[in-house]
Symmetry: C2
Subunit: 192 residues, 2 copies
């Protein structure tokens, strides 16, 4: 997706061998026009699957999830809440996502009432690296008795295993930009 | 604002004497159409002030901030990150917001680069109760050398002191719905 590729090349920073810093437009400051462009692109890709809920995880996924939901006909968004605590109420669906970046486990939780059984759920997130968050959301979709129609991602780190594993599992995964690697601080993108 | 009032009356739950639970449409499941309606209403109210950045705090503020920013001409959104840790880098503007609900202090932090001095900043959030989060964001706006054009809120808890204090301080505050109190589990709204 050209607008996203341009933003990554113009404003993204590669740090060390694996950190892709895109604070400037995706996960601290939000480039509003780009959020809508990303949402529209994901909506166009998954529209034929007729998703009726967009599921993401707080916080950075919310903006593109809302935009995608808008272009899918204003379907609702549900965002999983993150907490380190494992306390569980009967109404909450939970799954653990390990964070390699922070070295801790997050418990993602979604109120069961907001994923009615039989719903067709599109999972959306800003980043895909090891795939822990996506897998946790997919687990929650399954626990809810919903169908996963696919996973839409803004930026995939292609040099980490999350995307490959999801594709091997037959998940309909669409990443709008794939980072192949970082060389001397420069972010290398895969061809579209 | 009628659509928001209707959502509160139809789907909101009053718990105890002071909890307004609106998970169903505002801060866990998002009613996408309503998020845009709220954003448009805030944008219309503050448009004459020419805000060029919308500032909020993760996570629940992001959706209405993005929608407001869209109707203000796709100005950027910046969302403050919340953490309990006090570690500070030179580039981060920080302010403490005490949470009466959770009984802890959150440190809100914004990268200084994303609030260029002289910017006209609209602060947006889903809730206003004690005003701790709004005041922390206002402090960050001042630290950045920016102008605060106003504070736009979806739901104000009028029986808590945050809104009154902000108005006394001369802040241009617009709350789209004001909860007067909770009686026997029923949410009582102030007249528009």
């Amino acid at each position: 997706m050209k607008a996203l590729r341009d933003a990554i090349m113009n404003y993204g920073q590669g740090l060390g061998s694996d950190i892709v810093k895109v604070d400037m437009f995706l996960n601290h400051r939000l480039d509003t026009r780009l959020m809508f462009d990303i949402g529209r692109e994901l909506a166009d890709y998954f529209r034929r699957e007729n998703p009726d809920i967009v599921l993401t995880v707080e916080a950075s996924g919310i903006a593109i999830a809302l935009a995608a939901a808008h272009y899918l006909g204003d379907v609702p968004v549900v965002f999983a809440k993150k907490s380190s605590a494992a306390n569980q109420s009967g109404n909450m669906l939970t799954a653990v996502a390990h964070s390699f970046t922070h070295g801790n486990d997050n418990v993602l939780r979604v109120d069961r009432r907001y994923l009615p059984a039989g719903s067709r759920v599109l999972v959306v997130d800003d980043f895909l690296a090891d795939g822990q968050a996506s897998r946790a959301l997919i687990s929650i979709v399954a626990q809810a008795g919903c169908s996963l129609v696919g996973v839409g991602i803004a930026i995939e780190k292609g040099f980490q295993p999350g995307g490959k594993k999801l594709r091997e599992d037959g998940v309909n995964l669409k990443s709008l930009a794939i980072v192949q690697g970082i060389e001397d601080g420069k972010i290398i993108l895969a061809d579209d």
